[in-house]
Subunit: 556 residues, 2 copies
């Protein structure tokens, strides 16, 4: 049985899911022993610990120019001391270009089989990847498991399915038979989906697998070889994925350079050299806007970016103010605001928020919000796990700086200890009230758990500001609370024009930060927060070119 036959049913289910857009998950998101095995967690943790202080030797990339690695655990504030093989950008690109001419000739079916097989192998390492993610990104255990494991694998499968569907959506051959009156002109036509060439996927420090696998698998399914350039601070999670892909390639007698890991260090980054190499045709990027915009401006490249944005919450009217405040407090606390979907700007009318029991004033809502933030942080069964740790020291500094913003400080960041990790880099949220006129303060991303309560004249001004922020500075998510259908439609329509998805009236266990594979397009591609979307057709069609050849049918 070929790998395609083995995984054909899974592929078809995934394609159906893309079109149904209802709930679908191919990989179970709970780290349940019943699904993953009784010993999986323990073994995964052991494997992670065993990798510390050693060379990562699982890659099939011969003759490294050196070994290096600078990862550090945000929980321990200690170096992981894992070293990876180092290659120059030119070596990586040369090997990739050679592998290109192997991989592009592998059929779409065989590519799909190999790639889904690699995801199943990765599944066996979800726990190890979870610990690797915790100790590079600072994510809490549950998020680390879900985001880097099953949710990433679902996104990867989504990209494979979207790519496979596009590759097979039009016939690869047809007879074109044109009546010309007394005779017919007959042409044999054939169409090839020609991959663009060497693809570079540039990872970020907070979601090292989730944000990279779509580009990796999206490029691979469409026939492009991939160089994975992880963030120097978060390598191990994606190194494991690349190693598993290489193993399946080798088992199928293919060049492992079809998917390479290109590690670098903070003092000697190779990203620009990779990106500017003329043989590199495709670039996927997650990270800051400055570098992302530089990449987008490179001539002759197809570039997919997820950059930064300013996410808004519009508060107009609520059924239950406590539930709304609790939901939003969770969104801010979750992974200490280090998600690209975390809310930052909360627009509240100066006249307050309508509820079935009458108006809640601006101050009353602010108080509820702060109480909920504190309540969650101080809950020993939730706080440490929801907050996680802070990946980058600069984020902690930014949070403390935020207390100096010119506005009423509703909540200061405070000393907080994680009893499991006494040395963890932690920060609790800061909440500052600013006026709608202080645009210079809230017109930029303040990455981390920083919430700005912006006092507006009314909901119309709230909407106008949320839209303006998204159009000018980008936005990946938006929350809105309104019980009025006319206002909801206005928000939906105006934020659509700013290409920002809106989560309305969320309460309970679902948050505006979350984007589900097979259903939510993550980043729309339509505002400055990024030019690409997980995973709409454009995300894969731009990775190849349709080229049609034709020839007269020989008359027998």
């Amino acid at each position: 049985m070929s790998l395609f036959e083995k995984h054909e049913a899974a592929l078809k289910k995934a394609i159906d899911a893309i079109h149904a857009r209802t709930f679908y998950a191919a990989y179970a998101e709970q780290p349940s022993p019943a699904v993953y095995g009784d010993t999986a967690d323990t073994l995964g943790q052991e494997k992670f610990k065993a990798s510390l202080g050693r060379k990562f030797e699982e890659l099939n990339q011969p003759s490294p120019e050196g070994w290096a690695g600078q990862e550090e655990s945000p929980y321990l504030q200690e170096a992981l001391k894992i070293s990876y093989p180092i290659f120059s950008a030119s070596t990586l690109v040369e090997r990739s270009d050679k592998a290109f001419h192997v991989w592009r000739k592998v059929s779409a079916k065989d590519r799909a089989g190999i790639l889904i097989e690699s995801l199943d192998r990765v599944k066996n390492r979800f726990f190890e990847i979870a610990y690797a993610t915790m100790h590079t990104t600072g994510q809490g255990y549950m998020m680390a498991f879900q985001a880097s494991g099953p949710h990433a694998a679902d996104r990867a499968l989504e990209a494979i399915a979207a790519g496979y569907e596009e590759l097979t959506r039009f016939p690869s051959a047809a007879i074109w038979d044109k009546p010309m009156g007394k005779f017919n002109v007959q042409l044999k036509k054939e169409w090839r989906a020609v991959p663009k060439g060497v693809s570079v996927v540039i990872g970020c420090s907070t979601f090292p697998t989730w944000n990279s696998v779509t580009g990796i698998y999206g490029s691979l399914i469409t026939g492009n070889p991939v160089i994975v350039k992880p963030h120097p601070g978060a390598i191990l999670p994606i190194a494991i994925v690349v190693a598993e892909i290489q193993k399946v390639l080798i088992e199928n007698n293919l060049d492992p350079a079809i998917c390479q890991l290109g590690v670098d260090t903070f003092d000697k980054m190779i990203t620009k050299q990779l990106a500017e190499n003329p043989d590199v045709k495709l670039i996927d990027y997650t990270g800051n806007s400055l570098f992302g915009s530089y990449l987008e401006s490179l001539p002759g490249k197809i570039v997919f970016t997820e950059k930064t944005g300013v996410n808004s919450v519009i508060l107009d009217s609520v059924d239950d103010a406590d539930k709304a405040a609790a939901n939003l407090a969770f969104s801010v606390n979750l992974y200490s605001g280090q998600m690209c979907t975390a809310p930052q700007n909360f627009y509240i009318p100066e006249g307050g928020i309508n509820t079935p029991a009458g108006k809640i004033s601006f101050d009353q809502f602010a108080r509820k919000f702060v109480d909920n933030l504190n309540g969650l942080v101080d809950n020993p069964k939730a706080g440490p796990f929801v907050l996680g740790a802070v990946q980058n020291k600069k984020t902690s500094e930014r949070v403390l700086e935020a207390e100096k913003l010119p506005g009423k400080v509703w909540l200061k960041s405070r000393v907080f200890e994680n009893s499991q990790f006494k040395n963890a880099r932690l920060v609790t949220p800061v909440v500052v009230e600013v006026d709608a006129s202080q645009k210079e303060i809230f017109s930029k991303e303040l990455f981390g758990p920083i919430a700005l309560l912006i006092k507006t004249k009314n909901t119309d001004q709230s909407i106008a500001l949320a839209k303006e922020m998204a159009q000018k500075h980008g936005a990946i998510s938006c929350g809105a609370y309104s019980t009025d259908d006319t206002i909801k439609e206005k928000i939906a329509d105006e934020m659509s024009l700013a290409a920002t998805p809106v989560s309305f009236n969320l309460t309970g266990g679902i948050y505006m930060n979350q984007n589900a594979a097979f259903s939510d397009y993550h980043v729309t591609g339509g505002n400055p927060s990024g030019n690409a979307s997980f995973t709409n057709p454009e995300y894969v069609t731009k990775r190849f070119t349709w080229v049609g050849h034709r020839e007269p049918v020989k008359i027998g």
Copy 2:
């Protein structure tokens, strides 16, 4: 019956045709009285003549800032003296932006119905458009009818069908129902295809409708208002199309500014002002590479270009050298080489071309080719009609200049008269032999009937040069003659990497210049000759953004 219902069957047939890629034509390409009516040709010619020297008053665009027009007939070398309403770029964009918020709220079905209806109205004016095309572009009557009439309408319908399919490919709403163990999280989700905004379609002087209608209809079906900016030398054909679209819009109580004509004059072009206006989000362009590359570099715009290229013919081996030479001679003569798909560089091995009867030498083939060029030109029943007239004086000058190229001149351009149009601007082909080492000569487009016979070491060098030209300078078409399957596959593979479609072994009544709607992707978008393709999914998906909103399902 709604317009959608009226045209639903036509729309479905067109969508099916996109996927079948066999022969399909919705509009009959023969100017046959049986199809178009006995008097259609005569009436069309009369209507064209009646429009000369007058204001074009069919547009519904109030308060023009003036009236102007500088079209000239290449057949008469006289001004048409038709004047069109003139508007500033800012007036056009303001009106378009206002119309945007009307048009984007019209459903995809209603848009499709209105747009197909407009094509049926245009069909009633195919003959008038044909004469308008002849006397602006210099095309022969038959090409003018086919390219500007039925072929353009087919391409427009293809764009409507592709757009409609993409808009309806994913559900507009779904219930996302996620099991969470003891309960389910249920979200109502909805997705909106949000149009990008004001669209500008910049026309060219040689194919004023064929090259513009795909962008016009592609933008309109996806909800974007369009400003059509024709070439100042070829306005009337597309003005008629815009007028018909406006009439259908008005009949449906819609703002005619949804599709405006933005005429300018050679001395006061508004193209840059339109393109750089921040409210303009989409640009379609056909024309020279310099201006096309400038447009592609504009930040924050989605740009679709068809620029120039260097089209090659690779001659390796033939079944019948006379038939091959005849076919290629037709391709060079057709509309005096003024097609973007016309061949220019003919690569012939110094050792000659294999045939079943033995080798034909380089010189023997060159002689056959020249004889066929002359034979066609000198055939009074074919020559004048195939050659047409020359749109731009510079093209004639370039052809005469080509005789001075450093190489053997196999054929000089000669004095030629069209008995029907004694004053026509005419030019016959020039053929020059150059060596494969003289790359500086054949590395650029020499627009017009200029054929370079390039003497190569062997077919491998021919392929390498054809590929290099396409990758570096772009190519829209490629011809190849080989009877060897291995060589054919090598050509197909190598030219695929240069994103250039190859027509193999064409003889008889089908030519490498021709690209059929619903089957051939015209321009692949994968080399410097352009970044867009008529009509693959990307051509329409880039014109809108998927934005998803969501809200918890209320528990009854």
